[in-house]
Symmetry: C2
Subunit: 282 residues, 2 copies
Amino acid sequence: MSINIDAVGYECEPYENSWDERDVMLYALGVGASTSELEFTTENSIGVDLSVLPTFAVIASGRPPTSLWTRIGQFDPAMLLHGEQYVEIHSNLPTAATAVSRTKVTGIYDKGSGALVVTETVTKDKGSGVDLFTLKSSAFIRGEGGFGGERGGPIKAVELPPRDPDLVITYETAFDQALIYRLSGDRNPLHSDPGFAELAGFERPILHGLCTYGFTARALLNEVCDGDVGRFGLISGRFVSPVYPGDLLSVSIWEESEGALFRTETQGGEIVLDMGVFRFRS
Amino acid sequence: MSINIDAVGYECEPYENSWDERDVMLYALGVGASTSELEFTTENSIGVDLSVLPTFAVIASGRPPTSLWTRIGQFDPAMLLHGEQYVEIHSNLPTAATAVSRTKVTGIYDKGSGALVVTETVTKDKGSGVDLFTLKSSAFIRGEGGFGGERGGPIKAVELPPRDPDLVITYETAFDQALIYRLSGDRNPLHSDPGFAELAGFERPILHGLCTYGFTARALLNEVCDGDVGRFGLISGRFVSPVYPGDLLSVSIWEESEGALFRTETQGGEIVLDMGVFRFRS
């Protein structure tokens, strides 16, 4: 056991990340926006202003300094799985900016077969000082459980209604989807190299969980917010199964007065993103 | 008439352009390389080194300073069409570098309905001083002909054999192909904005000619050079009709001892890139 539970409460030093219009458009293409969403994929179409997809927040924050993970412990990075992701938008993201983020370890839980590390990141626009977004993320580290800690709960507990969804939106991922998405920053070869993917126990490279997340958020933005990024407040969900590039992603949506609940499945009916919560911006 | 034929012989001051691995991989995705060409689309696959597609040269050179076109004359940029493109590779392109280029006006011809401006660009690696490539390009400026100049000939005259081609390689362009390709630098809204494309007389945005060119060069690289960029020497061709994103591109190849001749057509049999010449590196 090399996870340090005393890391709970630790906050790393502030770190910066910059992006420009090209990064914003490349991310949009990476999560499947195309010719029908020119406000996210072009900066110079007549009568259209470039907007930033809200889930670009997971890229815009940048990566915490390695000191954060050194504090949490020593483990094989190949054993780390993305558990849940929560994104809360405070202000529309600028199309080009430098952001300053701080990340804090808010919990380390003992799930038996592994440790669950929960972090929270708060990001501001460096130039204006405006609060941009808050991220909460959990990482499941296989093989690092059994240390007698608390089991903890989900970042955002939710039960999906037993009734049929109000909407089901289906998007197709491309065979080269992960190759495009990875240029936004996550170059883990699990998503691109067949040899590496096989060593990791997959039949071929799997799509980035955050790519599935971005497709899902586009469905919510387009269908629940009428494409208005200003209405997009909070999204949270749990990654439960891998997606392969080329898969269809069907987002089932249950509308609520304050937003929606959702779940994402592949063409075979396998749930890939579960316990989904969406909230309008308050 | 505002084309200055005295510009022939003018060479602009040297200009620089830098690129990195992300630019190289984004270009490869832009011209359709995907999961079966990981040497062009990933930098960290086991046993695979990132290589640069030879036609990345048209991006790597960067853009000449505006003084070049000021010297050539004043005209509506919307009247400019890409005529021919010639790329001669002297050394394999580095995956990250700064290049220094010089561009010279080598000819201005009177085609009656327009003026044809031919330029030549010589590009070196700034760090090593190594010669990287030579580009020759012709731009047809509609409405600027009739000034009584020479008619000139093609950059590289060629007659395709009357016999059936030895090989026909067909690639599919994606509906968002131009949206990906444009992030390599050519943001002309003719390739992305339906409103702008309609004003320019097209039913919808057309693919970049140099994107079609990149697909065609991939076919030659994969089929005539067995994927070995070191064998890729020279490619030249003339743009004759527009391609729409989503079109199929079929490259007909006639093999020769020193390379091949080729032509690219869409699914309807319309020739889009003609008078194609390919030569092995000498």
